[in-house]
Symmetry: C2
Subunit: 227 residues, 2 copies
Amino acid sequence: MGQDSRSGDHGPRAETGTKDALLSAAVRVFARKGFQEATVREICREAKANVAAVNYHFGGKEALYRAALETVFSMKDPAADEFADRTRPAEDRLRGYLDSIVDELYVRCPSDKAGQDKHALFMIETMNPSPHLDIMVQLYVQPRADLLRDILRDLLGPKAPDQVLRDCAQSIWAQMLHPRMFGAISDRLKPRLPSPAERLDEYKRHLIRFSLGGLEGIRRRLNKDSE
Amino acid sequence: MGQDSRSGDHGPRAETGTKDALLSAAVRVFARKGFQEATVREICREAKANVAAVNYHFGGKEALYRAALETVFSMKDPAADEFADRTRPAEDRLRGYLDSIVDELYVRCPSDKAGQDKHALFMIETMNPSPHLDIMVQLYVQPRADLLRDILRDLLGPKAPDQVLRDCAQSIWAQMLHPRMFGAISDRLKPRLPSPAERLDEYKRHLIRFSLGGLEGIRRRLNKDSE
DNA sequence: AGTTGTTTAAAACGAATGTTTAAAGCGAGC
DNA sequence: GCTCGCTTTAAACATTCGTTTTAAACAACT
């Protein structure tokens, strides 16, 4: 069973088309339905391919899902590591970091379909981890976590234990993600208030204030402990 | 089609058994598998009932799920509204609130099976909202949200807008829930550190410090704005 | 043209699921 | 004792899904 035309021994054909179409259809469908809910048939319909194509080209639904994750999370991000240069004041870098990740997560430009699918998949895989979660963590989460840890290291000083950095990072990530994970719940709470997603800039300001305040609280405690 | 023996006109039989067994089996199975993954057959097996029993007594899988949610979230909580009395200092009440909810969410006493199922269902329904999410919000989330809002009102003063209270409440809830929602991801981040669930007391201390600091930051801003 | 290996296509398979059916079981009331 | 209504049971039904099968279409090389 030849699986991949491009790795064939002699006759590399012109663009297969089908395999790529399957992959990008898979990204879209998985992004809006998740692994379980998405069906091979729907993906093939969207890729204008036969039902058997998935098994032929990828070996099965699960392998296709894995391939879709790899594709999506290997994409280079537009904005990124401008917050890595240690010359800028740490507080500014944190601001920039929050701003950029929140924009990333609550994609506002409806043009960037690929980016939307990417973050939909991030949410899906986060809320419902599959055996292939590692791919996403390694390619997507880890770099962002490292970046934040460096910023927090600067903010909290060299004496701050790793565990404290991790806790703070999680507090910050939690707040960034919360509106996406609890949107459905928040919408049903009385009194009904506009969701953070509807007032992103305001929520970003809250986020930075609350987080800087929280870090200040942690820093005070660190200093008190080291006396 | 008589649905309920206890609402029958004349002959209320001895304990039907089956319907109750079905309900409690449903709670357990849904709690560990979610709505989609759970199968009617497994629930019936666990309830020692026939496959058709679900449709006979409840009308279908979905109605059974709804009934399970109603059952579980109608349970009165052991600990609760001791933080409602406005005499205690607000900061203490926040401490108590965090402590009690975290304990609730990361149930440590393995005896309380019902409580575990309840919070498993809470997580499942949060991460994968069903059409019956409202039940849970109304019976479970709303009272806890109200409690926290009152505490935050005391902490931030009467001039704080509702929107600010809500944002702060969400920041705090986000942190409480984060370890449960992102446990799988955090476990895969390098360097590997013990998860908050493995060191709950330490994490609770972080949570209270970070949150009080965050609130202090918000309060400062409120005062500055009102000058 | 003919051969070969790869890709597509239609159909069918086999397993699992929620639901329905039709008959049997069973307790109470006349 | 018998009927009637509610409950339980086993079997079947209808659908859906991932996957397999089998054969036809296709492109390149000899």
